[in-house]
């Protein structure tokens, strides 16, 4: 509205393709020889992966490969990292469990990937994924924080005894307590 320079409204340059449906989002990209992945995910919150049988899936049309968590270990693919390292109140570094892209031995949440089917079309990958047989041994799950830190709770990560990753605080606890109103009797 007559403003120039700082404070002037600058129209975006990219809107045309988005409002006309001509954007190129990742799934819009088509390449010759493109394959599709369908992940196989745990229906259990906590379980051991005893074995994965992909023999039937490998025979199905269009299937290129079935890859598992064990292959991630074999191929020395690193684990997912945590972007922020926290130090506990006692000065010790946080005790983070291992998070590979697919679970090689133990699944720790419903939906954690254990294997992936690669095939020429999405439907072939989906169909083959249904033919992969995963042998799970269900373990007791701990879906609640207060239950997780109780004595005797199932231990989730060997790196985090008592299921505590860190016990952290920031600021001046005494000053905050002093500033808050006393609870009414």
């Amino acid at each position: 509205m007559g403003v120039e320079g700082i404070g002037a409204s600058v129209k975006r340059k990219e809107d045309r393709r988005f409002i006309t449906g001509k954007g190129r989002y990742v799934d819009d990209i088509k390449l010759v020889g493109l394959t599709h992945a369908q992940f196989i995910r745990s229906p259990h919150a906590h379980a051991k992966v005893k074995g994965i049988d992909s023999s039937e899936a490998m025979k199905m049309p269009g299937v290129v490969a079935v890859l598992t968590g064990l292959q991630i270990v074999d191929d020395k693919v690193g684990n997912l990292i945590c972007g922020w390292a926290i130090t506990s109140k006692d000065g010790s570094p946080m005790k983070m469990g291992a998070w590979p892209a697919m679970a090689p031995e133990t699944v720790r949440f419903v939906g954690q990937a254990v294997a992936v089917v690669i095939a020429e079309t999405k439907n072939q990958a989906k169909d083959a994924a249904e033919a992969v047989v995963v042998d799970y041994e269900e373990l007791e799950a701990v879906p609640d924080i207060r239950a997780a830190i109780k004595q005797g709770a199932p231990q989730l990560h060997p790196e985090a005894p008592g299921n505590v990753v860190y016990d952290w605080h920031i600021g001046d606890e005494a000053a905050v307590k002093g500033a808050l109103p006393r609870p009414r009797t």
């Binding site: 409002i19 449906g21 954007g23 989002y25 799934d27 819009d28």
Partner: protein
């Protein structure tokens, strides 16, 4: 594989697809109309909205076979050559998009909303009618502004069916 015949953006098409194929996948994979997006697996997000026989429909919740003989319009089909549809222009003019992923669905739903209300809309009605379209970026404020702006620009017959 069964053949499905339908009209898409005023062109007659004939596609051979498995029975389980969703309309959104026919558009994106068979016809290369990738402006219609898949944003969820649960029919909640509305990124897939197109018009089927003049009504907004979530194309992820419809089998391609169900669209046989129907007239489908996608985001690619609403401009008039280089001339944008008033709803598209309104989204551009009111900063109604950021990443653009929800935008085709927002535009298609919004055209249907304006049509059904004969252009007589207020903010509360627009917000309510857009509950089937989810946006992660904008907070909806400018989307609502865009729709109300377009309602003023679109020539809609008062009593829409």
């Amino acid at each position: 594989m069964p053949t499905v015949d339908l009209t898409i953006n005023r062109k007659a098409v004939s596609v051979d697809v498995e029975d389980r194929t969703l309309l959104v996948h026919v558009l994106r994979e068979n016809l290369n109309l990738t402006g219609t997006h898949v944003g969820c697996d649960t029919s909640q997000c509305g990124a897939c909205v197109v018009h089927v026989d003049g009504r907004a429909v979530k194309s992820c919740t419809m089998l391609a076979g169900q669209a046989a003989g129907c007239d489908v319009t996608t985001i690619e089909g609403i401009a008039n050559g280089d001339e944008l549809h008033p709803m598209q222009a309104a989204f551009r003019d009111n900063h109604g998009l950021q990443c653009g992923y929800c935008t085709p669905g927002m535009i298609m739903s919004s055209i249907d909303i304006v049509n059904r209300y004969g252009g007589q809309l207020d903010e509360a009605t627009v917000r309510h009618e857009l509950e089937g379209n989810i946006c992660r970026c904008t907070g909806y404020h400018n989307i609502v502004k865009s729709v109300l702006d377009a309602a003023g620009r679109m020539k809609v017959p008062k009593a829409a069916e």
